[in-house]
C-alpha cells in the first residue's frame, strides 16, 4: 500500500473538493435566498471563466485588471438573471424555476460556442507554477493555490454572513420572507444581492477551474458534481456544501485513480443514491414538514 500515493490522491481530492465546496456555497446561497435549484451553476462558472478569457486574450488587459473585470461582469450578469428570469417565476412551482435555470444553461452554452467555438481554450498563467511538495507527495500548484483561494473566499463569505447587516438580511429572508419584509428588509434587493454574490463566488471558482483544466463549452458539467455535493450536504445548508464538497472531491479522486476515469461520475452518483436512501434531505438539510 503506497501511503504517499494515497496521500497525494487524497490531497488532489481535497483540492478539487475545495472548489466543489466553493461552488456549492454559491448554489446554497441562491437556494436559501430564492428557493431556486440552480442547475445552471456550472454554466455560470463557465461564463465567468470565458469573461476572463475575453478580457485577457481578447482585450489584452493585464491580469490584475482582467480578474476584477470578469468578476464585475459576473456580478452584473447574476443580477440580470435574477431580474429577468427568476423574479417572474416567484410563486410558481419549484419545477418551473428549476426548468428556467435549465434553459439558462443551454443559452449560456450556446452563446459560448457561438463566440468562442466549442474548442478548448487556455487562460494565461497567473498562478505560481513551482510544484508543491508535502513529504513524498506532489500537488499540482494550481490545485494547491486554487484550494487556498477557495478556503479564503469561503471564510470571507461566512464571516460576512455572520456579522454584516446584509448577511443577516439574507439569512432572515431565507427563513421567512414575509417576516423579513415586515421588518423593513428590502426583500427583492436581497434576492438580487444573493444572485450577484453567488455569481461572483461561482466566478472565482470558474476562473480557478479554468486555469487548472482549460476552458471549453462543456465545462458546465462541473455543475453536475456540484449538484451531488449540495444534495449530499442538504440544499439549504452551508455546512453541508463544505462537507459535501470535500467528500465528493475525495470520492472522485479516489475512484478516478483506483477504478479508472470512467468510474468517477458513477461513483459520484452512487454517493447521491446512497445519501437519498439514508437521509433524503441531505446530511444537514432541513426537513420540510407538511402541515395537514
Amino acid at each position: 500500500m503506497d501511503w504517499w500515493l494515497l496521500f497525494e490522491i487524497g490531497l488532489a481530492g481535497i483540492g478539487s473538493g475545495g472548489l466543489y465546496a466553493l461552488t456549492g456555497l454559491a448554489f446554497v446561497m441562491i437556494y436559501k435566498a430564492t428557493r431556486v435549484v440552480n442547475l445552471a451553476i456550472g454554466e455560470m462558472l463557465m461564463f465567468s471563466a470565458y469573461m476572463l478569457l475575453a478580457f485577457t486574450t481578447g482585450m489584452g488587459l493585464p491580469i490584475w485588471l482582467a480578474i476584477p473585470g470578469a468578476l464585475l461582469v459576473s456580478a452584473v450578469f447574476g443580477m440580470l438573471v435574477e431580474r429577468t428570469l427568476i423574479r417572474p417565476m416567484l410563486g410558481e412551482s419549484p419545477i418551473s424555476s428549476f426548468m428556467v435555470t435549465v434553459g439558462l444553461s443551454s443559452i449560456l452554452v450556446g452563446l459560448v460556442e457561438l463566440v468562442w467555438t466549442a474548442d478548448q481554450q487556455r487562460l494565461p498563467e497567473f498562478l505560481p507554477t513551482d510544484a508543491i511538495r508535502l513529504g513524498d507527495a506532489f500537488i499540482s500548484p494550481k490545485v494547491f493555490y486554487g484550494f487556498w483561494i477557495a478556503v479564503l473566499l469561503i471564510a470571507a463569505v461566512l464571516l460576512l454572513f455572520r456579522f454584516w447587516r446584509g448577511g443577516v438580511a439574507l439569512r432572515a429572508t431565507a427563513s421567512d420572507q414575509a417576516a423579513a419584509y415586515s421588518m423593513g428588509i428590502n426583500v427583492p434587493r436581497v434576492f438580487s444581492m444573493a444572485w450577484m454574490a453567488a455569481a461572483v463566488i461561482a466566478g472565482v471558482a470558474g476562473i480557478v477551474v479554468g486555469s487548472i483544466g482549460g476552458l471549453s463549452s462543456v465545462m458546465g458539467a462541473f455543475g453536475l458534481s456540484v449538484l451531488v455535493v449540495v444534495i449530499f450536504g442538504g440544499l439549504d445548508s452551508v455546512l453541508g456544501a463544505l462537507v459535501g464538497g470535500l467528500i465528493v472531491g475525495l470520492v472522485e479522486a479516489l475512484s478516478g485513480f483506483y477504478l479508472g476515469g470512467e468510474y468517477k461520475i458513477l461513483a459520484t452518483f452512487s454517493l447521491l443514491v446512497l445519501i437519498l436512501m439514508v437521509r433524503p434531505y441531505g446530511l444537514f438539510g432541513t426537513h420540510e414538514i407538511e402541515r395537514l
Partner: protein, 346 residues
C-alpha cells in the same frame, strides 16, 4: 359558433371525442395521416417518423411528470434501455419487431419501477436530481458490458422485418411507427377515463388527501413510473429501428431535458400538450436550419447552426415558462374558444 352540446347518456358524456364536428376532424386527421406518405418527400417522412417517436416518449414523460407530478430527468435512460434491448434481440435472435418492441418496453418498465422506489421518501426536485443518476448508471452499463452492448462503439441495428417486408426506409417505417404512436396516445387518454388516471392526478395535486381517500401512494407512483418508462422503452426501440445505430452517447442527459422541455412547452398534464410539445420541439431546430441556410452567411452558416440551436432551445424553455406556463395546449384552447364563441368575444 358552437351551441350547447348536450349529451343523452353517461356513456356519451365519457367518450373521448364528444361532438360530431370533433369526429369529423378526427376523420380528416386520419385521412391526412394515411395520405401523407404518398405526397411527402424523403425529408418530410423522416421528420414525421422522428416526430412520432418523440410524441410517444413525451406522452410517457407527461404521464409521470405532468399528470402524476413526479419530475424525472431519466427519460433518456429508459429510452436507451428500450433501444439496446431491441437492438440486441434483433441482432442476436432476429425475433419479430413487435415482440422486440414489447420486450424493450418491459425492460425499461422494470428499470422504471426500480428508479421509482425512492419516490416515496424523496420528493420534488430531489427526486428529479436522483433520476439523473438513472441516466449516469445507464450510460455506464451501455459502455461497459461490451460483449452485450458493443461498448462505446455501440450497435448497428439491422432493419426490422414485418411480414417479409424489410423496413429500411422512412416510408416503410412510417406505417409501423405512426400506428404504434397513435395506440400509445389512445392508451394514455384511456387511463384518465378510469380510476387509475384520476389517482395519478390526485397524487400530483395533494398526495395526503389521496392517501386518506384510499390510494396507496407507493403502488401508484410505481405504476406511473412503470407505464411512463414502458412508453419510453417502446419509443427507444423505435429509435433503434429508425436510426439503425445506437451508442452510449445516443442517450445523453440533454435528451431527457429535451423531453421535459417538450412536456412543459406543450402543456403539462394534457394529452394535446404531449403532441404539440413534441411536434414543436422537433420541428423548431429544422426550421432554424432552414432560416440559417437562407441567411447570407456562406461557409460559416454550418458553424453557427449548432450553437444557435442550443441557444434557441434554452430560449424556448425560458420564454414559454415566463409567458405561457400552461404551454401550447393553452394557446390552442384559446384559439378554439375564439372559434366557438365567434362572433362573441371570449
Amino acid at each position: 359558433m358552437r351551441i350547447g352540446s348536450a349529451k343523452q347518456s353517461y356513456a356519451a358524456d365519457a367518450a373521448l371525442f364528444d361532438s360530431r364536428t370533433q369526429w369529423a376532424w378526427v376523420g380528416v386527421l386520419v385521412a391526412s395521416l394515411l395520405a401523407f406518405p404518398f405526397v411527402a418527400n424523403e425529408y418530410w417522412l423522416y421528420l414525421a417518423c422522428l416526430v412520432a417517436i418523440n410524441i410517444a416518449s413525451t406522452t410517457g414523460l407527461n404521464l409521470l411528470t405532468g399528470y402524476t407530478g413526479l419530475v424525472s430527468l431519466g427519460q433518456s435512460a429508459f429510452m436507451g434501455l428500450g433501444a439496446y434491448t431491441v437492438a440486441i434481440l434483433q441482432i442476436r435472435y432476429g425475433t419479430p419487431m413487435l415482440l422486440n418492441l414489447l420486450a424493450g418496453g418491459v425492460v425499461a418498465m422494470l428499470a422504471g419501477v426500480v428508479v421509482g422506489v425512492p419516490s416515496l421518501r424523496v420528493k420534488g426536485l430531489y427526486l428529479a436530481i436522483a433520476t439523473i443518476a438513472a441516466g449516469v448508471i445507464a450510460h455506464f452499463v451501455f459502455s461497459h458490458f461490451a460483449d452485450l452492448t458493443g461498448g462505446s462503439a455501440g450497435l448497428s441495428v439491422p432493419p426490422a422485418q414485418v411480414l417479409g417486408v424489410v423496413l429500411d426506409s422512412s416510408f416503410k417505417l412510417y406505417w409501423v411507427i405512426v400506428p404504434i404512436t397513435v395506440l400509445l396516445l389512445i392508451g394514455a387518454a384511456n387511463l384518465f377515463r378510469t380510476r387509475i388516471g384520476r389517482a395519478f392526478i390526485a397524487i400530483r395535486d395533494r398526495d395526503i388527501s389521496a392517501e386518506v381517500l384510499g390510494i396507496p401512494l407507493l403502488r401508484y407512483k410505481l405504476l406511473s413510473f412503470a407505464i411512463s418508462s414502458f412508453y419510453a422503452g417502446v419509443a427507444g426501440g423505435l429509435f433503434a429501428y429508425f436510426f439503425r445505430a445506437i451508442t452510449p452517447e445516443s442517450f445523453p442527459l440533454i435528451m431527457s431535458i429535451f423531453f421535459l422541455a417538450a412536456v412543459i412547452v406543450g402543456g403539462m398534464g394534457t394529452m394535446l400538450g404531449s403532441v404539440l410539445g413534441a411536434v414543436f420541439m422537433t420541428l423548431v431546430p429544422e426550421v432554424l436550419k432552414l432560416i440559417v441556410g437562407w441567411l447570407p452567411l456562406g461557409e460559416s452558416a454550418m458553424l453557427v447552426l449548432s450553437p444557435v440551436r442550443t441557444i434557441v432551445f434554452g430560449l424556448m424553455i425560458v420564454l414559454f415558462l415566463i409567458f405561457e406556463p400552461h404551454g401550447l395546449a393553452e394557446v390552442w384552447r384559446r384559439i378554439r374558444r375564439l372559434f366557438h364563441l365567434w362572433p362573441f368575444r371570449t
